[in-house]
Subunit: 430 residues, 2 copies
């Protein structure tokens, strides 16, 4: 009977078969310990020379790292560790013997690993990250559906830019000139909520940014949520609910993965509590008091975000920013028209910015004015202005970066490890 | 208390508020019937002049199509229809009065509707399609996770093509030359399963095809699933399981939407039964017997697919095609090396091809040979060949087109209605 490693606990004492790969091997004289992986987890296989046939012992001796195998044996409980199981191997079939697997169990440079990303994915840490990433995606889908959002995907080919044009990838588009790869589906989601009430998109977005940092990819995944009849405060509540749902979901479903990643789960548990809220004004004052030379009207840099959250156990909202440093579509604060009803959400543990959100301007005239002041081409936004002419309603939304969320939950340093095949300014392969 | 239309049944006799838009209106002397929509469904609001204040009656008289409103009143059961509710409106607040909404309740040409896609989405049929689409996406995510697949997204920027180069969109990529927008993530998924066992990607893919048919978009969504240790027969079982799960899920969750779409749900119910399997050879013979002049070695066209399935209550697999008309990566049939272990799945009711799948060639030498014979650049596929050098295993996969599935389940004719903002050779806006 073929069994997955994740289901071993239900088969103690039974003879089963694991199909997978040899992850690691060590020998102790007449006993061979084969660490097997099957994609769903790991199990130690034990071959004892005196109990094994000559053929099986030979196979155990000759099998190499990353060879594919079928191992049949009896499932036993680990003599010391709770909830860990072993396979007492009776039969070992090598499906394909790997020669000179390039990623040995030693340190390699990042370029070498990235060149071999198709193989590096098999390393336990990368395996764990991919599984946490999947859990985060599932958590996002689940939470949003519970909150009555449905998925309405935005187009990738767009005729114009949402936030400036300097970082766009152009694509020749038949006889219609140039299409640009989307940087955000927000404006389209604003159209869709007037049909479905609440919606989200969740797809790749593209930035032709020449940044070489640990937080930048040219292609990354973004979830944009948008909701009719939701104003600033409720927008923040939805965001907080989502992030706390993700944290809980991963703590519950990714225990083994977070151990492999050596993530401090106590810190993650503490993040599932009411988030801190600062106004932009408060944040600047706090930063100045902490020694930063940031000035009112500046955007927060990476260092400022780190400083502001370094003693925080929970993510921190920074809300109500000066309108001068924020995009045209954000709604002005009724109490202070120099501010907009927006927020950034900064993660704990140096995770940086996860979310940017805002209530949207729903007044056709004010929006038209902002579009003109920003020097944007009104013609391009005619359809967007239509949304304020035909049944305008208060509405809000936000975007969460998938890779940054994975980076935070996994506690990995470089965002390139949070996506299967990362694309950066210097990398397009494999 | 604000209530969503979908939750009205739990509030009969209570005074509640619906926030939404006026979808339609008719008057019968001293009674005004306001059809309201809130994104989650529809409800008829009733305003009786003699019971209403002058202000409320005036609001009911003056409110226009697609104005945004807040309607407060008592929920009642429809006098005749089961499970239908009405709102006896006591207060009606117009949030924003729409003037001259361009899409009247009359026939418009497709170009006009597509130019106004941001508004057309509000029409009940388009609303229903978006909701069915969401249900199909959720069904796919659910089924695959139940079957132990996890999501591992493939890159969009790729250095080379999976199936030929004639229909690729090129993008200038920094100093690295040209990137191409992905047409399929399959090859990447094949790498990922050697880490995680079973995985899928689900994202936009791009074809620069100059086709102007009812079945072609330049940007569409595809789900590619891939599984280690799965061979041809099990591959077909997973596909059939997925499609039947989608059908059941939509029948259960999208009752109201399928009524709006006038979809024959009896036909859909019948599709949830064991699928028919023809070999390619059998299919050609059947088609010839039915009058088609298709020849052995030809690909099946749209008409052939229609002919072959016209009397079928269940989708039809066509398996084991000649290798000459299929891509290099498909595994040869051990019983006949001129055939490959692949399948196409054709939907009922003229839905056309939903799925293409195959077992993949897992022998490094045979694959290398096929790459050379096809005239592909071996260097580009070195990483792909690595997967056969380091722990090769039998594996299979398939891709399902999201828009074609939506088209089939919804019973709509043109694929442009199955995505929120369709992109075709002649359309990049809005």
């Amino acid at each position: 009977m073929n069994i997955l490693t994740k289901d071993l606990s239900g088969h103690v004492g039974e003879t089963i078969t694991i199909k997978g790969w040899l992850y690691n091997k060590r020998s102790s004289g007449p006993i061979s310990f084969l660490e097997l992986r099957d994609g769903y987890g790991f199990v130690q296989g034990v071959v004892v020379q005196k109990d094994a046939s000559e053929a099986v012992w030979q196979a155990a001796e000759s099998v190499t790292q990353e060879s594919s195998v079928e191992a049949t044996g009896v499932v036993t409980k680990h003599p010391k560790k709770e909830n860990v199981f072993e396979l007492q191997i009776k039969d070992l079939k090598i499906l394909q013997l790997a020669h000179d697997y390039p990623i040995a169990n030693k340190e390699h440079g990042p370029d070498f690993l990235m060149d071999n990303r198709h193989l590096w994915l098999r390393s336990s840490k990368q395996w764990a990250i991919m599984r946490v990433r999947d859990a985060i995606i599932t958590a996002i889908n689940e939470y949003l559906h519970q909150e009555n959002f449905i998925r309405v995907d935005s187009p990738i080919f767009t005729p114009n830019a949402c936030e400036g044009t300097t970082t766009l990838f152009p694509v020749p588009y038949f006889d219609l000139g140039t299409a640009y790869l989307s940087q955000s589906g927000q404006l389209y989601s604003e159209a869709a909520i007037m049909s479905v009430g609440r919606c989200y998109d969740f797809g790749p977005v593209f930035r032709a940014e020449k940044s070489k940092t640990k937080r930048h990819l040219t292609e990354f995944w973004m979830m944009d949520a948008e909701a009719a009849f939701v104003e600033h405060d409720e927008n923040l509540k939805i965001q907080e609910g989502l992030v706390r749902y993700i944290v809980r979901y991963c703590l519950e479903r990714c225990k083994e993965e977070l151990i492999i990643l050596e993530r401090n789960t106590e810190r993650l548990k503490k993040a599932d509590a009411p988030f801190t809220r600062y106004t932009y004004d408060e944040a600047i004052k706090k930063l100045n008091a902490m020694g930063s030379d940031i000035k009112y009207g500046d955007d927060l840099g990476n260092d400022d975000e780190g400083l502001l959250t370094k003693d925080s156990e929970v993510p921190v909202f920074i809300e109500k920013w000066p309108k001068t440093i924020k995009p045209f579509y954000m709604k002005r604060d009724v109490n202070n028209p120099d501010l907009v009803c927006n927020d950034d959400l900064i993660a704990t543990d140096g995770g940086g910015e996860l979310i940017g959100g805002s209530q949207r301007e729903d007044d056709a005239e004010l929006l038209f004015e902002r579009i003109k002041v920003e020097g944007l081409n009104v013609e391009d936004y005619q359809w967007y202005l239509d949304l304020r002419k035909y049944g305008s309603v208060p509405h809000s939304g936000f975007g969460i970066g998938l890779e940054r969320t994975v980076r935070w939950i996994c506690g990995v340093e470089h965002v390139r490890e949070t996506i299967a095949f990362p694309r950066t300014i210097g990398r397009l392969k494999p």
